[in-house]
Symmetry: C2
Subunit: 101 residues, 2 copies
DNA sequence: TTTTCATTTGAATAATTGTTCATATGAGAT
DNA sequence: ATCTCATATGAACAATTATTCAAATGAAAA
């Protein structure tokens, strides 16, 4: 029962991990990520699919991009967003699994 | 490229999953959970360990308990909290792994 | 170049949320 | 019953955050 802090992950690491989970902890963002798990998509397509304004979707995509969870490429006039990482699928999968019980 | 919604998890399910991740998406709560991953502990011990007030810890434990992530038992005057589920370890583990790169 | 379409950005607003402080509850000890 | 000790609770406050609206940027078409 001695020093528990030594056995815990570093505080900074935990902070970053919390920041990561914060990304998944919002209805809009997790819907966006779920959609992108099926296939890459433009901002407008996402907005139509989820029934939200382009602006709202764009703001959230900005955060997700900042968190390196999605990446974007330009295709003519539109921006196509896709998952940055297979880790994203794994994490959402774990969450879904835990909830479905 | 047809109906993507049909391939996505149900909206309610995604909502619940977001709620789950919200629990991990806070510095204080993830620290509490990390500590409880090492060993079960009283509210006061957690407060001392993390350098926060008992009240703040108690409030967060209430949320974690509501989310079925921790459970409590009484031991004399104190309440001993522990992880409710091994799933919690798995999920935090995934998050830590993703961050450490 | 001007126009149009898709996206981004910034400011404002509304809503949620974490912490603090003071008080209440609850259990064991005196 | 009273007195501690440990925890829980509620209200107030501060801070963060998601959405909306309006305007700006950027790229392709006319």
């Amino acid at each position: 029962m001695q020093n528990i802090r030594d056995q815990m992950p570093d505080a900074c690491l935990l902070y970053d991990t919390a920041e990561l989970f914060k990304m998944f902890g919002d209805s809009t963002r997790i819907q966006i990520l779920s959609a992108l798990m099926i296939c890459e998509m433009s901002v407008g397509d996402l907005a139509d699919l989820l029934g939200m304004t382009q602006s709202a979707v764009s703001h959230q995509l900005r955060l997700l991009k900042g968190g390196k969870l999605v990446e974007a490429r330009r295709q003519g006039k539109q921006m196509i967003y896709s998952l940055a990482d297979d880790h994203v699928k794994t994490i959402i999968g774990q969450g879904l699994e835990h909830v479905q019980e």
